[in-house]
Subunit: 470 residues, 4 copies
């Protein structure tokens, strides 16, 4: 089936990516290529709903874009407007039922909906809706928005959407498609990214600008925190569901999730990472022979570190591109004997060397431990780990699965304790100031580094990420 | 189905990789992980034959290792000896019939066989064998060796193999497995690599050392040109079928095919590439703002160039990891509009820059042209292409599909003509001396750069690679 | 994928079969075998929801039981209560979204629901519910019942179900499963069958008794029109949502749909068909050489006719068992030349004979025409068609897809006109009196023969079966 | 995957069916429909090789016709000549390697080959060929014929075939296809059937006439024992490889294997079975209430018995059409509780009745025992088993897998002993005279009833069918 991104066990997961096109011939093909460019944001499931201006048609399934949409399926989806979704995980129940977009058949006109993010007050909202007679087929937050919008069928659609969004607390980028309109909206803190592009006479919206590039669209602007953009035959219309907005983009979008070729709030992701690496070299220099990065997300920071420090960059670890979901994991016995399949060290590069090892973050620390052990077995003389972001001390409630609070290595260990656990000769994290500088002084959500959450929380941090809801 | 390596259209193809284990519990699992490490050498088909010392059992199919061997299939292959094969292409007819290993059921004992390379006199040999009553079910060279070995059933097996090999002219690394023996042999010019490793009480042979590392085996030595290594319960036995041997390893193994973490003849592949990049910087310097490489095989050379020139290395192109065999290619119309899915340029990195673009080779030039065009569209001010190997002026007869003679861009165009075709501001290739230095003065086959073929050829170079036989 | 029943183009389709078990270890396996016995009622999709008393888990998909539930899937469904569903068709939109059972995640406890039949006032009910804020993900009637039940979350579940059923007009057999209860209910006219069986300490409900036999359960009784049976840890509890009930079982269950080994209201289906054939022989005798039946559903009637008439029964038509959904239909050109794949006549049996051809019904007449033509080509001297039920003159609104009104051959043609169209030497239908006698004077719905519909209709008969909603 | 014929565990298996067309547009489609009509002869694997007069192209795989040839695959096989094959079983090793047709790439022109039957001296022939240098990739007899034909490449093809056939002892119907010729041949005892038909300007050959009918071809004649028919652009040419011929068609073709609508040696299969049933009624009458047959192959005999005895025929057993290869077998525990899925008795028909149970044969007796037990559980008062063929006392060496000698119930038990084992009230087999009369006094191979084998045997009857070679 599907390919997955975790060529080594990624420890951070985001839940999704969204993509939409309006007034573009071959809307489903464009969405296919757009979702393909967003595939790194979720490989577990995906879907496309297309409008031919008279009705909505959709296909969704578990698996990646390539698997869910063979040519025979894709060509059945004809229309000029479309929305699509890639989803990280379907654990937490529901399987295909939680795959998006959701398509609702309604007497006032069908509509479809998909989203990226996490609603922190979803439980409360769901109970209220159930009390009024709503029933739910999935455990997804998207279904909640749909119920909120259709609570009162007498008001106008845009008014209903504005009303509904007021109830939602948390992080979200939502797309809603009707026969002849596309609505795109972002939470009032701007936690999840969402950008608009133009393609000939049509418009495109996407979680990342790399998806605009992938289909040849021109970047127009980012959707603003609290904004609802309505796209119809007359073009773009802007509206805000809240005046109380801030720009608090998730820092992890720069550090880890987004593709290096995406720009967020005008800043290129690769550039921010390389800069983080440069600053890290200044903050925490070390005498060493080579700099190596953990592929793929840490390579930019590793180049930056090498450049700023003057220590040569080397390809010290490579990863096998052919690992995927159906791959058979080596048994513990085989693993013990040295069978490895995701990351391979270059023994002849590493042997006898003092190594600066750059990674983007430490979550549970298990991957770091394995890599360090591998490098030691290859004869690394010293290993100096440098992390291109601050230590993660708190869980995320906004759609990033940083694993549970008690599993976060830095939540209960200081830097020296972490160093001892992962067995490096030295360890340093980028400072918060460094991160701010790397992100060009943009404002961002740093809750996982600081415990300063921008919204009210509806559950205790010890329960975060425990329900497998994403 | 299978994942393929060509995240952009690779223009050079090799036909296969071989792997064998002897006297190792869980031989088929080890072969699975070994083949997985060799997957870059061929994704179109693969197979494993295992011996439990009493009989041989095999599975093979079209597709990559992960697809052909789900857990349910792999666990049926129990035994302590095994050979396996990954194959680049099954075009040219036969489909699954050409997938290896070949398993023959014989009254004297079953045997299996697989190989990497190309026999240049296969047509002549096949005609002779048919005249004596042999019939062939595939168009593979491997079947020829099997027929040669069993021509006369009265002689001892090792004698029969030695006799048979004498007839074969060309490039090969062969593995033959019987119930209780594993034979590994290399052509007398040593064109194709083959290395031996040790794993506890057993032995491992593989086309590349990265496959030894992948299963935790210790490198012992390379098999020598013209050598037949027999592995049985008493260990390794060496023999030579020819005294007239040379070491003429294919230069492309270093330049393009092999994984960066493999060592060939004691030289690490990444290191040789980085060194080629350094030498290229010295031979053909240029004033520029950034150095970028074409992922993945040219990245090492790009680092080398950046390091030696002092020009910063940047990630200017990234490739989408989720492309694969079943992916739907954009229609020409969509492609025209800018839909792309394999390689994406980082606009904000490239815009306004003077770029040194490093690639490992130019074959037909079509990929180079597309990349250059993409970079121009992103606003590159100047593009200076630097190729980390000499110009390819002649086709390969030894198992590398460098496309046909007339399609080789440098075969009929000098450097300036090529530059005009691919539309760069400047273009330079590494010199032959540079390549020799990068390969540590090892001897190698440079026929594609020089037309100096180490063997007699049995067909005209204009017909090379036309039959789609690989 | 799935096998389908239409070994020749069946012209009548029913929409589903339901099956449930309560308090039986291996509930999902039992449901698998139960659904397998009901597979003739629908091959397009199926699903199972199982309760382990604490939570509900479900799997459903397009395809038949064998395809949707490979061993690896089935074994994940562990529990002691379960309901399952086979579905005829997913045309009319929705695809997998319309496959049942539906599983709802509710704060008061999850519940699942499946049904067989058709609600005639579903459009009105849906509009009312939408006006109150309900939104629908499928076009299935089942979702309506779920919304009706949960309209007011303050009342007790059984009361809510009783209240909800009052709103439903039409034909239905519903199963509702919660963590610890199974509800089974039938419409107040008893149009769709539903029987209860006992298996050790547990209970079983099924659309047909053949499914009780298939798992070794003992028949207890049929559920009565208007009855709601609640099964919990204390056993069976009976309740009625309406006092205004009649027993109007669908005659087509005897004539065509049900398996010959099922008993409905105490009468064996094969026996009723054979008796219909006997009565047909008495009502419409003819001088002939052989009696043949159209396999499979008309064979019982053919035996009956042969027995009563004394004319020898012969196997004059056989059908190929290997036809299925993925089979490639012969092109018109090949069909013209005589390529056939579903029904084959036995030329040497038919040649020169006066044939009595027995079929269960004539719907559009196209199949009859093809069969008659085939028999003529084989040299049948005379063809006397005898139909073991009255002429169908009106569409069904209760879950039988008798195609649309205007396509019904007998709706606008008398017997002689039909005879001329299908080109037989004579034609006769069973009389209504004959059908009553064959069904042992049981009361039944004969609307398709008489236009006497037992319920109010909410749409014009000219629109019946046009929406492809089943 | 594939559908299989064994809706209850069939105890007799034949190995294959062959089909060929010459000079017919859309040869592969015709072969597809022809093989589909022969699917009952083998569902485990199938293949088609097609000639466009310049080259041969083939596809084969495990699974039934529908599974192996989706439309996308079938349309790749374009040509005007073709041969195809359905295979019963691939057990005995080799899997796909043993699936036919075999396609050989030869300097003198490619050729393909398939066959139905069993060569009794294959071991000896294989050893001789290996001694001369042949090597084998399958354990199939077909490969032997190919090697024999090409032993000496100097003689003409037809002479080589005649020469080769002389060496073969046993039962066979062979088809050989070259670019422009189709050869069809039968063993000198005529053990396996093979018929020729005409279709416009082309010819068709098939194991059974039902396959000629299926594509609209007109029956021409049966190929004679020892005959080689060559079909080329000039039409049919007849030749004989042996003068020492007899017509000894396998009796089981009439009794069990062939489709009721096939004619063998001019006698319809259904008619012969019905006649066997009539004769059985005369030979072994019994007082009873109903006659029932074991579906499907015994139904014709049951009608015959009912007609001749005057006892009413009833549908006492029905089988589920949806069983197939991937169906999950009930566990012994569930089976114990009464879960059944292949054959269902009609309780209300059987209860309290004296039953005549007709079956076509008894092999190991296990199925008979199960059926008898099922009928007893349904309340049958008496069960009188009548077998429409003589008792099987010896194994078959000619391609019928009657299981091994020691498993044949009648090999070591007389009729009374068998009756006690299967627990019926009475038991009778058809006499040899009865069988001869039912087959219209045609000569046939009755070795399994008499131990009179028409050929020399090369192994002891105790070893027959033990090697799983089919």
């Amino acid at each position: 089936m599907g390919e997955i991104n975790l060529l080594y066990e990624r420890e951070l997961h985001e839940e999704c990516g969204v993509f939409g096109v309006f007034n573009c011939p071959k809307a489903s093909e464009l969405t296919y290529y757009g979702l393909h460019a967003l595939q790194h944001r979720g490989q577990e499931g995906c879907g496309i709903v297309v409008s031919d201006t008279e009705k909505l048609t959709g296909v969704k399934n578990e698996g990646n874009v390539r698997f869910v949409f063979p040519e025979s399926v894709l060509k059945k989806l004809s229309g000029i407007h479309a929305i699509g979704h890639v989803r990280y995980s379907t654990t937490g129940g529901g399987g295909i039922l939680n795959v998006q977009p959701f398509l609702f058949r309604h007497g006032d006109g069908d509509f479809a909906l998909c989203h990226n993010g996490n609603i922190v007050n979803s439980q409360v909202l769901k109970q209220n809706l159930e009390r009024k007679g709503s029933i739910f087929q999935s455990s997804s937050d998207s279904e909640i928005l749909a119920h909120l919008i259709y609570q009162d069928s007498r008001v106008k659609r845009i008014a209903a959407i504005k009303e509904a969004l007021i109830y939602l607390e948390g992080a979200f980028a939502f797309l809603v498609l009707t026969n002849d309109r596309l609505y795109a909206m972002r939470d009032r803190h701007g936690l999840r990214p969402l950008s608009i592009g133009q393609l000939e006479n049509g418009y495109v919206v996407a979680s990342e600008t790399c998806a605009l590039d992938a289909i040849g669209a021109t970047f127009v602007r980012d959707i603003l925190p609290g904004e609802i953009v309505t796209i119809d035959k007359d073009g773009l219309h802007s509206d805000f569901y809240s005046k109380d907005t801030q720009s608090k983009i998730c820092a992890m979008e720069y550090i880890y999730f987004s593709r290096p070729d995406s720009d967020i709030l005008g800043l290129n992701v690769h550039r921010s990472r390389k800069e983080a690496g440069r600053l890290l070299a200044k903050e925490s220099p070390v005498e060493a022979d080579i700099v190596i990065g953990v592929p793929d997300s840490s390579l930019s920071a590793a180049y930056g570190y090498a450049e700023a420090s003057g220590i040569p960059y080397e390809m010290g670890l490579i990863k096998n591109r052919y690992v995927g979901r159906t791959f058979i994991e080596p048994s513990p016995a085989l693993r013990e004997k040295g069978v490895k399949m995701k990351l391979s060290p270059l023994r002849s590069i590493i042997q006898g060397k003092r190594v600066v090892l750059i990674d983007d973050s430490i979550v549970r620390g298990t991957t770091s431990m394995k890599i360090v052990e591998m490098l030691r077995q290859c004869g690394a003389k010293e290993i100096h780990m440098r992390i291109a972001s601050p230590a993660i001390i708190a869980p995320c409630f906004y759609g990033v699965d940083t694993s549970t609070y008690e599993e976060l290595l830095s939540a209960f260990n200081d830097v020296e304790a972490v160093r001892q656990i992962i067995k490096t000769d030295s360890l340093a994290f980028l400072s918060m100031e460094g991160l701010k500088e790397a992100l060009g002084q943009r404002d961002f959500c740093a809750a996982c580094f600081t415990k300063q959450y921008p919204t009210h929380l509806y559950e205790h941090i010890e329960n975060a990420n425990k329900d497998g809801k994403f």
